[in-house]
Symmetry: C3
Subunit: 134 residues, 3 copies
Amino acid sequence: MNVELEILVERAGLYDVTEQVTEIVSGSGVDEGLVTVFIQHTSASLVIQENADPSVLADLQAWMDRSVPQDSQLYAHRAEGPDDMPAHIRAAITASHVTIPVIGGRMALGTWQGIFLWEHRLGPKERRVIVSVH
Amino acid sequence: MNVELEILVERAGLYDVTEQVTEIVSGSGVDEGLVTVFIQHTSASLVIQENADPSVLADLQAWMDRSVPQDSQLYAHRAEGPDDMPAHIRAAITASHVTIPVIGGRMALGTWQGIFLWEHRLGPKERRVIVSVH
Amino acid sequence: MNVELEILVERAGLYDVTEQVTEIVSGSGVDEGLVTVFIQHTSASLVIQENADPSVLADLQAWMDRSVPQDSQLYAHRAEGPDDMPAHIRAAITASHVTIPVIGGRMALGTWQGIFLWEHRLGPKERRVIVSVH
């Protein structure tokens, strides 16, 4: 079963989508299998990260800002704006998809794990994500 | 269904393999499922990236060259050549496999998404990739 | 089929879990399919890397120590210890899961590929990993 989600984001940062994915897994009727979450973009990505302390998300973003700088002099690809090329690099070193086991009809996430869409562009965007349960 | 691909690369950089994977998915007869592309090497990797502007690929490579330098003084593992250890690190922070939903017999890639083999060694190589459609 | 593994680690570094996964794949009776290895933590991760020369593992760790420093002044999230936030970042740029094709009842790993749990916390930990064969 495949379900398409539209995720609206306002700015760069990590957005928790665990609840939406949990609902799709519940509704799928799959008792044992895998769920794959796939993002149809190359300037936003997906990660599984800690869902407890919001400062973790801020520190992840700050590390990314230091390691893949918003400095257009570094990049040849500037036609889509100065934040586009760093967004592509940030997506390349994180992930386009995450796969999680489904056991007893539920995702087998660890206690502190959440699924996050990591937006790498600076402004608002509408992002498409496909959730596949098999 | 599993199909093995041999990809010949001439030097470090990103090589678009989307067309080969698309053909395998078409030929598999799978209407709804997932395709997994897996690389059998640890000094080359796979990423989903923008397929429109070639300068994106050059900028990705330039960031990698800055962030994981070709400086053999940094590495203890030098027996296989000075470009081998940086290649392993570059593979570790990108991906050994990508998984993409198959919907209506076709990969559900976004408009600007392509599947790329990212070669991290400097010289020519023959790389083996397995495409699994289920 | 899902099997849960407990992996005991003593300190930060890469731990080869290929043998445990190989045994689970053999015992599953699956002849052709995929195996997914998923880690239920966000301060340890999984990678496929070279299993031949131990200096590769030391160099991977050294690059990580340089690129995601253990410097608590950089991070707001310090409540769980100074090594926790760098561990989250290191997990985010590697992977929460790896998927490998199963062909003829065996994982289709390349000659030099091993599956590693990469522990990012400094002290001993008990880590839970789920191996799913389908």
